[in-house]
């Protein structure tokens, strides 16, 4: 790893100023992904701005809606009983990230900002209609996840802009299912998130674990219908998903294995989202 200098501003203004003074500086919000990239030479930064002193390690419920401060370690999200109860899909996705030790460092803001194609959180946040609150030189703005994550490792984050929080509206149901070679500390070969957020009981479906980024599948969601899908609707949705998703082969899985997984994981996630439980 090439040496870098580290600053840890105590206020948002200082953090923004530090980033404005050095456009090439990296943002450190846990470091479980960034430091690996620096070590492997995939990313270069001579200066890192750490967000650890900012007052963003927060978890606020407003009724059924949740606001998560961007530097909240994932482990704290995982340990919150209300997250598990009200947003089980998010809870399952958080538990899928790395290992316990890693989740003590990793943050939700870091996960979104790094925008790894295999992020476990992005598919779930897509289905939950999550919004991202950004703060920067021009003040604050809010973007839906779908417009924030643009491509593999690419986001809508502007110069000297930071992720302040992630807001998740109330959800009626949510679930996340993944498949990996090794259950812990691995990257998903494929993942499926489902949620019912709309008042009319409609589904949202997203697929993750495949480059370039996690994607919402509105046609698949449409095929599921409203509320509890019939077996025929579920089959149609699974077929549609394995047909529609642009799958690729890489060193983690072949295209045909991923195709097989799409339908399987979708069925399991929907069953879980309906409260039927089902295997992980």
């Amino acid at each position: 790893m090439t040496p870098f200098s580290l600053v840890a501003p105590a206020s948002v203004d200082e953090a923004v100023a530090a980033l404005r003074s050095d456009a090439a500086a990296g943002i450190l919000a846990g470091g479980t992904d960034l430091l690996l990239d620096l070590d492997e030479g995939r990313t270069r930064a001579e200066r890192l701005v750490s967000l650890r002193r900012l007052p963003w390690r927060t978890l606020d419920w407003t009724g059924e809606a949740l606001a998560i401060g961007s530097t909240l370690p994932l482990r704290e999200l995982e340990d919150d009983p209300d997250v598990r109860r009200r947003l089980p899909g998010l809870w399952q996705a958080v538990r899928a990230v790395g290992s316990v030790a890693l989740r003590h460092r990793a943050t939700i803001g870091g996960n979104l900002g790094r925008a790894a194609p295999a992020s476990d959180l992005i598919p779930v946040l897509l289905t939950l209609d999550a919004e991202i609150e950004l703060v920067g030189p021009a003040g604050t703005r809010t973007l839906p996840v779908d417009r924030f994550v643009l491509a593999s490792r690419r986001t809508a984050l502007g110069p000297a802009e930071l992720i302040r929080s992630v807001r998740i509206p109330a959800a009626r149901a949510s679930a996340y299912r993944w498949q990996r070679v090794r259950p812990a500390n691995d990257i998903s070969q494929l993942a499926v998130a489902v949620a019912r957020v709309a008042a009319d009981g409609g589904w949202r479906v997203a697929v993750g674990g495949i480059p370039p980024r996690a994607t919402l599948l509105p046609d698949v969601a449409e095929a599921l219908g409203r509320g509890r899908p019939t077996d025929a609707a579920l089959r149609a949705a699974a077929d549609r998903a394995s047909r529609d998703v642009a799958l690729v082969a890489d060193r983690r899985a072949s295209e045909e294995y991923r195709r097989r997984l799409v339908g399987t994981l979708l069925r399991r996630a929907v069953a879980d989202g309906l409260g039927g439980g089902g295997p992980a």
Partner: protein, 733 residues
């Protein structure tokens, strides 16, 4: 329940134990290797000038050798640096040292390496798209050939009621010791000194002597604490380069691999293709034919250990009246093949066990009953005509069957219970020596091996000494010394340490007792006891404190008794060997394992729910250490079974040189195994002990594969059993 701590636990927990990666010295430089940028090709030029232009940088390459080692007769077959031909990617072409690690890396990057790339030879099945016939031995890719036979296999297979032929594939696996290779070299006053994390200080001394062409007497190797070896630290890797740099710099040089380089340069097990053909008539094996293609990377011709030793495990442990076995060591553009805990046995045993399960299925027999009927028993002959000595595997299998019956009764749909058998032999290797030093307070075992983590030195040797001398643990000390001062030993490998050095301790203990017998009156055996806090020599009712039996000069220095153990036992029928070298077994050890797995019928994912292991370890010398070896071996074996696979690209590049994509098991994937020792079958070690470092890993992939098959019907013929491979075997894809 009493809790005991290993003698090294406190220092390791407190961070006080100095590993190879902790090595440092005043004025030290940091070294770095410059590797070939292609896996195959011609090396046109290496220009060190840009590196030397950087401040404080020392650089050495082939051209500097003559000046650094005047008259040094370097090993022409094993050039330190690539000279003309590049044999594998990252093969060292030069080495640099600089005042900081970052500066050393910059200097390494500054060296200009000019190459003319050539297509790399990487994949066994590209080299031999058709299964090689007997003419393959003449192929330029074949650098080792072994062959043995007995009986008329072709005729037996023609007559057999059932003949099953199958091909198995196994990948490259890495040792993944927690600590990468690391050493610190200092050259001065005619002494080439290297402190290093090694399984074999004397082996490193011999290697360095041969590679650099300097006498062993001028070389001192000092072992550090070793953060795991598993075969990967059995011979020299970085030491010759560090010594050359230290010589050139006139200052100490530290050279260590980062983990990526550890994957890329480490000596690992490479891929194989194994073809097995078995004939069965009336439920009995009549013949087996075995063909092995083993990727040996850029290993050198004539080194047929890999094929000769491995192939022994394709021959047993089942009675086979007629057999024919042929193995090819095939050179590819990868680093040289290296040993990995029980070199290549888990892979061979996976193939043989899975194959016999398939043979039994085709013949309409119960696989375990079929194996039990053919399993070697004491006094049977092996296919190579060696008499089987005390062998606890049949007894271990009976235990395993009982557990499997209980687990099967509890298993849910989609779950299965499998049994796998593995055998091994304690290697006494090239032997070793110890000295026992008796002082008024304690007996010290002076020897030349560092503890590599298994406990074989600090607990194994101590337990032998305790038992041989009848003394409590706090009166036995284990002392380590470097190669200039310690008695010789060949290394901590081959499950041999407690066995071979333990035998040497027994001999030294006898000698010590004989010396003491001359100094105390009376008849009968002499024993040492602790009385009122001091060591006392007792004989037939008389006793005398050790202090009083020593001459004044000895009270300070102590008295010394030496012991040694060399040689291996057993012999094979050489008439059955056609080509190459096959090895007899010193003793016969083995284990029966049982796995209970759940297989996801839609994704192919395998989860190991419970695991039991029954080990013939001869006489167990130190139960806690022995149990830990079995638990660790099973964890490592589960990696080979389920997730571990180093993948080489067509151009000879390792595509997953990091721990994210080279997946060792996490504790979440490893159930705590239920471990049982099957005693009463003595081996070649002290008090009838058998080596236990390697056996626990051997049956694991076979056992898991058997359980997966029982759970799901998936017959997987390639390791590891990833979800996708299992899904393919289930015809889901």
């Amino acid at each position: 329940m009493s809790v005991s701590f290993r003698p090294d636990a406190a220092a390791k927990l407190a961070g006080a134990a100095q590993y190879g990666t902790d090595l440092a010295a005043p004025g030290m430089l940091w070294g770095a290797l410059v590797g070939a940028p292609v896996a195959h090709g011609r090396l046109r030029a290496v220009d060190l000038a840009p590196a030397r232009a950087l401040p404080g940088v020392v650089a050495v390459g082939s051209a500097e050798l003559d000046a650094l080692i005047p008259g040094g007769g370097r090993d022409a077959d094993r050039p330190l640096f690539a000279v003309r031909e590049i044999a594998y990617r990252n093969q060292p072409v030069a080495a640099v040292a600089a005042p900081t690690l970052a500066a050393a890396r910059r200097a390494a990057a500054a060296v200009r390496v000019e190459v003319e790339g050539a297509p790399a030879v990487v994949d066994l099945e590209t080299i031999f798209p058709e299964w090689p016939g007997s003419g393959a031995a003449g192929s330029p890719h074949v650098i080792a050939h072994v062959r043995a036979r007995h009986g008329d296999v072709a005729a037996e297979l023609r007559r057999a009621e059932h003949v099953v032929e199958e091909t198995y594939r196994t990948p490259s696996v890495h040792q993944v010791a927690l600590e990468p290779h690391a050493c610190l070299a200092t050259v001065g006053d005619g002494i080439w000194h290297v402190a290093t994390s090694t399984q074999s200080p004397f082996g490193v001394r011999e290697d360095v002597s041969s590679l650099l062409g300097i006498p062993e007497a001028s070389i001192v190797v000092e072992g550090t604490w070793v953060g795991g070896g598993f075969g990967g630290k059995g011979s020299s890797l970085l030491e010759p380069f560090a010594l050359l740099l230290a010589r050139a710099a006139g200052r100490p040089v530290r050279l260590a691999l980062d983990y990526r380089s550890e994957f890329e340069l480490g000596r690992t097990t490479l891929p194989s293709v194994i073809r097995l053909t078995t004939g069965v008539t009336d439920g009995a094996i009549v013949a087996r034919r075995v063909r092995l293609l083993l990727d040996v990377g850029s290993s050198l011709p004539g080194r047929d250990f890999a094929t000769g030793y491995s192939i022994g495990f394709l021959l047993g442990p089942y009675r086979t009246p007629a057999f024919e076995v042929e193995g090819y060591g095939i050179r590819t553009n990868k680093p040289p093949f290296g040993p990995h805990r029980a070199p290549f046995a888990p892979q061979c045993v996976f193939a043989v066990e899975s194959h016999l399960n398939e043979v039994a299925r085709v013949a309409g027999l119960d696989p375990v009953e079929f194996k039990a009927r053919h399993l070697w028993k004491e006094d049977d002959a092996t296919p190579l005509g060696q008499r089987v000595l005390a062998f606890g595997l049949p007894a271990a299998l009976e235990h395993a069957r009982a557990v499997a019956r209980r687990w099967r009764a509890e298993a849910a749909p989609g779950e299965g219970v499998g049994i796998g058998l593995g055998f091994w032999s304690t290697s006494t290797g090239a032997g070793g020596e110890v000295r026992l030093l008796l002082t008024p307070e304690a007996v010290t075992v002076e020897q030349g091996e560092r503890e590599i983590g298994s406990g074989s030195v600090l607990r194994g040797l101590a337990a032998v000494a305790e038992r041989a001398l009848g003394l409590p643990a706090d009166r036995i000390r284990i002392a380590y010394a470097d190669t200039a001062r310690a008695p010789f030993d060949s290394g901590v490998y081959g499950s041999r340490t407690t066995g071979a050095l333990g035998r040497a301790i027994l001999e030294a203990a006898e000698s010590l007792q004989a010396t003491l017998a001359k100094r105390i009156a009376g008849e009968g055996p002499v024993t040492l006891v602790v009385r009122d806090g001091e060591l006392v020599v007792a004989r037939a009712g008389r006793s005398s404190p050790v202090r009083e039996l020593l001459r004044p000069d000895e009270v300070e220095r102590g008295i010394v008794a030496a012991g040694r153990h060399y040689g291996r036992g057993g012999s094979i029928d050489e008439a059955r060997v056609v080509d190459g070298t096959f090895y007899p077994y010193t003793d016969f050890t083995g284990a029966a394992h049982v796995a209970w797995v759940a297989v996801d019928p839609e994704t192919g994912a395998v989860r190991v729910r419970r695991y039991a292991a029954f080990h013939d370890a001869g006489t167990v010398i130190d139960p806690a250490t022995a149990r830990a070896q079995i638990e660790g071996g099973i964890a490592m074996g589960l990696g080979i079974a389920l997730t571990e696979e180093a993948i080489w690209s067509e151009d000879g590049r390792l595509t997953n040189p990091h721990l994210l994509d080279y997946r060792i098991p996490t504790l979440g994937e490893v159930p705590i195994p239920e471990v049982t020792f099957v005693e009463g079958f003595p081996g070649a070690g002290p008090f009838g002990a058998k080596g236990l470092g390697e056996p626990p890993i051997i049956p694991v992939p076979a056992t898991v594969a058997a359980a997966v098959r029982e759970a799901s019907g998936a017959h997987v013929t390639e390791l590891p059993l990833t979800p996708e491979r299992v899904a393919r075997a289930l015809k889901l894809l």
